[in-house]
């Protein structure tokens, strides 16, 4: 087990170094001149040269890479060319909205997907199984941005149930302001006991979160159903059935544990999808998160911002894969023996 963990961690570190080199190279070979943009449109040749020195662009590439990585290890991702803020500070502002969206989306997908998958596997061919499989195929195939529009038309324009875009309404911002402690509106307002702000933020969060949950929901239903069908056909579960135990008890109490490796894999897949899937959804709902930040940075050739965000998302993605692989090895001993 220890050697397995060691190998996986080594590989992850290697991958992160590879990722940092790639993002660094890509960001540094951007065709337009970042120093000229940093110095501003009316800068003289001397000012541009000074900006070049300030940004460290006059040094050879390997030196620039080492300096950048030394900064990264200290939590310094450089200075954004457009906002002139520290990139780390910009990311700290845009990360909570994105995470709030991703976490709620995942919770919705799991809470809805697991029961549908398990019930479908308990009675293959029943109406709930048919419904689950059809919903899974359609939701996995739905372009997320189109689904966003459909939900906006349905729940905002037609039923007037939920707000159409943004993170919180101006009215709530003015009447019941909440002190930003973590940057997560739901947590901040709950800590302050400010429930009207909480409700307003939650209602704004629901539409994008539902949209983001669609694809993971489909994945969860498919995977849970497939592995549950397999487990229920095995001798040990058939024995429980022969002994007279009720099917729901067998499924949820005994068989479910054996579907955990598959479930962990699907959670990792879904999370990985959501990390970048949120880019599209933030664009549809005007959500001020990381996706929004990166798209703006891309348009303005703001390379420190693109680099910092890419590196951060990549590290989270790799770390997540590592955690899931170790989790699977933990619940399924066969993996760590092979």
């Amino acid at each position: 087990m220890l050697s397995y963990i060691g190998r996986r961690i080594m590989l992850s570190v290697l991958v992160i170094i590879g990722l940092s080199v790639v993002t660094f190279l890509i960001a540094r070979v951007v065709p337009s001149d970042p120093a000229a943009r940093y110095a501003g449109p009316k800068a003289t040749v001397e000012q541009i040269a000074a900006a070049k020195q300030e940004l460290g662009l006059d040094k050879p590439l390997p030196v620039q890479y080492v300096r950048y990585m030394a900064g990264v290890l200290r939590g310094d991702l450089g200075t954004s060319i457009t906002t002139h803020n520290k990139v780390a500070q910009d990311i700290r502002g845009t990360l909570p909205p994105s995470l709030e969206l991703i976490v709620l989306g995942m919770l919705i997908a799991l809470a809805a997907g697991i029961p549908v998958g398990v019930l479908g596997a308990m009675k293959p061919g029943s109406w709930i199984d048919g419904f689950g499989r059809l919903a899974a195929v359609v939701l996995v195939s739905f372009p997320s941005f189109c689904l966003g529009f459909v939900l906006q038309l349905l729940l905002y324009d037609w039923l007037h149930l939920l707000p159409v875009s943004g993170r919180v309404s101006n009215l709530a911002m003015v009447l019941h302001p909440v002190e930003a402690r973590t940057g997560f509106y739901l947590i901040d307002s709950a800590l302050a006991g400010n429930w009207s702000f909480f409700g307003d933020a939650l209602s704004h969060l629901l539409l994008p979160a539902l949209t983001l949950a669609a694809y993971p929901f489909g994945l969860v239903v498919r995977m849970v159903r497939a592995s549950m069908v397999e487990v229920l056909a095995q001798d040990h579960t058939r024995l429980l059935k022969a002994l007279g135990m009720k099917l729901p008890k067998i499924a949820f109490r005994y068989a479910f544990k054996l579907t955990l490796p598959a479930l962990l894999t699907v959670i990792a897949l879904s999370f990985a999808y959501s990390l970048t899937g949120t880019f599209l959804i933030e664009s549809v709902f005007g959500w001020p998160g990381m996706g929004d930040y990166v798209s703006k940075a891309l348009i303005t050739n703001d390379y420190p911002a693109v680099m910092g965000t890419t590196l951060l998302i990549g590290i989270v993605y790799i770390g997540l894969n590592l955690i899931v692989d170790l989790g699977i090895a933990f619940v399924d001993p066969r993996v760590r023996w092979s």
């Binding site: 890509i26 960001a27 372009p143 497939a226 599209l280 693109v306 990549g314």
Partner: protein
């Protein structure tokens, strides 16, 4: 796999047949776009501002866009771009991935180790991020979006093919071919490749849908096809500001994206049951 078996199977599985039918319809409609499109000049730069934002009607089945172009014609022509781009991406990814997997699996040793670790590194790169990086490096365009997609999809096939080959190498008929003195190339062509192809075909048919979705998403974000292209994702993105006032503008270009992805998913399920019975029902 005989043709008659496929027909027998389709007759007994309505959903799979439905998938293949939708797919055939979409491909046919795109191929016949010059004959089917009522306003073919609209897909080639014609602008009629006096007919902007007309709702769907007999004259304009899908309505018109902000420039007064007939959306039905645009969507038909867009299919040629979206579907052929998807085809190119999947074919190149499969070919490149299979070649590398073949080398890794057959040669083995340190070459195998090196290739597979490299594959692991590429696999842990989120596809959309790679596209973002490439768009910022080379500028946004359809071909750069395709490049990003191909760069992030090939490793899946490398893994798949390699695991197949490692299994097949110790199969009786391969070992006897080696013993009888056949060359490595002949063994790969005659014995290994044909037997490891089925799972690849199944995987590719499923991935085709994801690739179509990713491509549309990239165009939607402005990192793929650029105007005046009529690529589906780009059309949706042009309609996005009018969703609440002119729903048809974003809806009708979005519909074929959804249909293609659903059809490919259903068809892929069917192909898997047919070609790879061991996997039957695994992801359904």
């Amino acid at each position: 796999m005989g043709k008659s078996k496929l027909i027998y199977y389709m007759r007994h599985n309505a959903l799979v047949t439905f998938g293949f039918a939708i797919l055939a319809l979409l491909v046919l409609a795109s191929l016949l776009a010059p004959w089917l499109a009522p306003y073919p000049q609209d897909a080639h730069g014609a602008v009629h501002t006096e007919r902007a934002f007309l709702p769907p009607s007999g004259a304009h089945l899908f309505g018109t866009d902000a420039l007064g172009r007939d959306l039905f014609s645009l969507v038909l022509y867009g299919g040629r771009i979206s579907l052929s781009a998807g085809c190119i991406a999947i074919v190149v990814s499969v070919a490149a991935g299979a070649l590398i997997g073949l080398i890794a699996g057959y040669v083995g040793g340190w070459i195998d180790e090196m290739l597979m670790r490299f594959t692991d590194i590429v696999l842990s790169f989120p596809p959309l991020l790679l596209a973002v990086s490439i768009a910022s490096l080379l500028g946004p365009s359809l071909s750069h979006a395709l490049l990003a997609i191909m760069l992030s999809w090939w490793p899946w096939y490398t893994r798949l093919i390699r695991s197949q080959i490692v299994q097949l190498r110790s199969a009786g008929y391969v070992e006897s071919a080696i013993v009888s003195g056949k060359g490595a190339g002949a063994i790969m062509r005659r014995h290994i490749l044909p037997n490891s192809l089925s799972p690849v075909i199944v995987q590719a048919s499923m991935d085709f849908g994801s690739i179509i979705l990713t491509l549309a998403g990239l165009s939607f974000l402005g990192m793929g096809a650029q105007p005046p292209s009529t690529e589906w994702g780009l059309l949706v993105s042009q309609g996005k500001t009018y969703v609440l006032s002119n729903w048809w503008y974003a809806a009708f270009p979005g519909l074929p994206i959804l249909l293609t992805a659903v059809a490919l998913n259903l068809a892929g399920d069917g192909l898997r049951d047919l070609l790879d019975p061991r996997q039957k029902g695994v992801t359904r």
